[in-house]
Amino acid sequence: MRRLLLLLFVAWLAGPPASHAQSPESLKALADLVVDNADKREAAVTVIGGTRDPKWLNFLGALRDGNVYARGKGKDAEVVVGGAKSTRGDAEMIEIVTAYERKPLGAVPLAGLVEIAADRRLRIAIKPFLDADETRLQLASRDPEARRGAALKLAHQADIGAASVVEAAIARETVPNVRHALEEALALIRLASGDASARILAAQALGALHGSGAMPALQRLAADTAATPAEREAARGAIRQIERWGLLVRAVETVFQGASLASILLLMALGLAIVFGLMGVINMAHGELMALGAYSTFVVQNVFRARWPDRFDAYFVVALPVSFAVAALVGVVLERGVIRRLYGRPLETLLLTWGASLIIQQGLRLYFGAANVDVSSPTWLSGGFALMTGLTLPFNRLFIIVLASVSVAAMYWLLFRTNTGLRIRAVTQNRTMSSCLGVRAGWVDATTFALGAGLAGLAGCALTQIGNVGPSLGQNYIVDSFMVVVTGGVGKLLGTILAAAGIGTLNKGIEPALGAVFAKVAILIAVILFLQRRPAGLFATRGRGAEA
């Protein structure tokens, strides 16, 4: 009970000053606004804003927007707020209300009023009061992100006057990360303005909250010679706590980024790998098939935007199969049209598919333009999942991880649980023998190529959510996915998966130390050295032939 009373007392102390509705000071300030003296007018705004009274703040808003007028002259002038305008006969009329209470004063001729113009200086003086008010409004917003933004702003301002508001907000907050931001804001406010013991408590609270945003304030306190040793020790402890947490966050983040890159590589390399395994063909046009998938997504998006704007979010669900189908179709045309003529000559096929890639790329450039096109994310893929303090996992990256996993699972099912898969594996192992046993190798080639190309299209569709979509989209990732295939070895799904995971995590692991470019070079060196040990990749197919 006593505690409750104490809390109430504190709340009363820290609360906004009791309504001095029309206190003499504010009334005097109101009168000063009419005076033609910039200093006095600025001081008047400060006094009026300082009341933090919503009604007065409304008045300041009207002043900023040029809706405040003076009626009468000199000392007897009355400050009023203007409203709707109308014309009666020749005269222009305006509805006016009183400055504070907004009591209607009827319509008067506009000519009888003098506008109190808010010049730049006055507007600058008004701004902080209105902003602070807006932050408070945001705290009550229904959108959690807006509330969180307001909390961050309050934490940045660290204005003691806001403490009670934040406390009230904490009490009714239910979303964890917003609550966290609010608690941090409160602790920061107390750190900035409480007494020594309150500061120690605040520092400890900040340490327990792990927020890296509190670091500058804590460092200032730790270095502050005016503070007591206990305060500084508390600040240092909190800093240590936050730093340790930061290390953990970075480790988790690296793993996540590695997984994300690995799934991108896997999505791209999967199609490449099964085609390589089956036909010994490195499809250089794989990147362009990805670009085709990405542009299909772009087209589907535009169709939805034009035809069904209210169902816009559903476009991506449609775009996935469409991009698969488009890329698969082009893949089949490519395979049936030209690649099958070069069976058994892998180097020639490589050049051929490179030629095809140039044509597709330039075709896209001529049709869609050389500039990147804009593919917007559906709302259900924007934003992220707040895993822990300081780490939010973006939904689009999570989606790609899920898509890659589903693709791999589907591929496993297809290869090991269906007749088609059985035929594909048979032709991969021994083409001639399969043909003799009645497997139509040409048909299997076409199916597999369509599948690989479709997977490329799917990857392209997924890439629209995380990168730019342009005609050279495929070029950016293609060499990386080749490396995955080469490292993984021919015709082994598991090898491809492990290689993608290895290269992805290795890349993200060394990127902080070396930078993106030298990380890529290091990966190349690593792959070359790896091939020293295993020239045919992770899982080489063992055969009796001398070439194997």
């Binding site: 390589f276 010994g280 490195i282 030209v338 003529r341 070069l342 892998p346 180097l347 020639e348 096929t349 490589l350 050049l351 051929l352 490179w354 030629g355 095809a356 890639s357 140039l358 044509i359 790329q361 330039q362 075709g363 450039r365 001529l366 070029q475 060499v479 080749f482 490396m483 295939v485 080469v486 470019v517 030298f518 890529k520 070079v521 190349l524 792959v527 070359i528 050295l529 091939l531 020293q532 040990r533 020239p535 045919a536 001398a546 070439e547």
Partner: protein
């Protein structure tokens, strides 16, 4: 033994390239046989490409190793030359500093250590050969020793081209970043923009091309050349015969890298700029299509391919810039599909067919009837 009409053709081509073009440049501009400075310079560029193509052909056409990263070696040679030319500018540069201009922008205070030896012309000339050779030696040793072959090797070399491009684009490498090295003023003390200097450079390039051709021909005619062809046709069998295919491939890889480096070194002063864009993935694979279009496995095919494709490129990119990539793609596809042994190979087949028609009445033409791809590859103008 080069057949007589072909020998005459070769001689004529050599004479036109080495003697006639520079002489035409000496004629007064009004003369009908006058060769403008621009044309001569353009052909100078094509001839450097031809030198590179010879090396690539040696590697791919004879040893069967498809490198998609020869732009790197070309770039190494060109950068070595470019660094010397940059240092020769001295304080005549825009910022009047002894340092190259881009270092002034990047606020580099003193010349990086690896730039210093390039002050010396003789060191530069050695570096043009040695740097690509060493690089190819290390890379090739690692690649061939572990028996990385076929498509694997192509992919690895392509990754090499990508990495080199990425690295040379970085400003902190102190190699001029994306803008590369440019704005050269003199070469070995002679002003570069003088017509006589450019003519001299052209003659040097043409002579180098002839020497390179002779070198490659000597290699292909030697026993080693026969082993190379054997490696291309069946590497395992060569291995089982007691040869070491890896060593032969490494040797030819280094030779072709040196040729590419020399080509690059001749390219830089004639074109006046070298940027990382010349050593990326696309230029590297374009080099392959020169050889493919001209006719791999025949040295003359590589030279003709390099000149022909680039001639077409300089015409198409000025007249129809949008079409060039489409054309290049179509060229890749049609060469691979329809004339796998290139223009020269196709011509040789036509000639064989004509000869067979002529001799059909008197002789049984069965040996000529088996004009397979392999036979015309090893045959063509280099029939022994």
């Amino acid at each position: 033994m080069v057949r007589k009409p072909e020998r005459l053709g070769l001689l004529a081509l050599g004479l036109v390239l080495v003697v006639a073009l520079p002489l035409g440049n000496l004629l007064p501009p009004g003369s009908p046989l006058h060769v403008s400075n621009f044309t001569l310079n353009l052909f100078g560029k094509f001839l450097t490409y031809a030198i590179l193509a010879l090396g690539l052909d040696l590697l791919w056409g004879y040893a069967g190793v498809l490198s998609l990263g020869h732009g790197v070696f070309f770039g190494l040679g060109a950068y070595a030359m470019g660094m010397h030319l940059m240092l020769e500018i001295g304080s005549k540069s825009v910022y009047q500093s002894a340092l190259p201009d881009f270092m002034v922008w990047n606020q580099v205070k003193e010349l990086p250590l690896f730039w210093r030896p390039f002050n010396s012309a003789s060191f530069t000339l050695v570096a043009i050969v040695v740097v690509p050779a060493l690089f190819a030696l290390v890379f090739g040793f690692l690649a061939f020793r572990s028996r990385v072959r076929g498509v694997y090797l192509s992919i690895i070399t392509q990754a090499l081209a990508l990495s080199a491009w990425l690295v040379f684009n970085r400003n902190e490498m102190n190699l001029g970043g994306t803008n590369g090295l440019a704005d050269f003023k003199t070469i070995f003390g002679v002003p570069l923009n003088r017509a006589a200097t450019q003519r001299m450079l052209y003659v040097v390039t043409a002579v180098t091309l002839v020497v390179a051709w002779a070198l490659c021909r000597w290699i292909t005619q030697s026993r080693a050349g026969k082993v190379l062809v054997a490696v291309r046709d069946s590497e395992t069998r060569v291995l089982f015969c007691g040869y070491s295919p890896a060593n032969y491939k490494l040797f030819v890889f280094v030779v072709s890298a040196v040729l590419a480096g020399v080509a690059g070194a001749l390219y830089a002063p004639q074109v006046g700029i070298i940027t990382p864009a010349k050593m990326g993935v696309l230029p590297s694979i374009e080099m392959v299509v020169w050889v493919a279009a001209g006719g791999r496995g025949t040295l003359i095919g590589a030279v003709l391919g390099a000149i022909g494709v680039n001639w077409m490129q300089s015409w198409l990119t000025t007249s129809y810039p949008d079409l060039w990539l489409l054309f290049l793609g179509a060229l890749f596809m049609s060469v691979v599909l329809f004339i796998p042994d290139g223009v020269v190979g196709a011509l040789a087949r036509v000639a064989q067919w004509l000869r067979r028609r002529r001799s059909a009445t008197t002789l049984d033409a069965s040996p000529l009837g088996q004009a397979t791809l392999g036979a015309s590859r090893a045959g063509g103008s280099d029939t022994r």
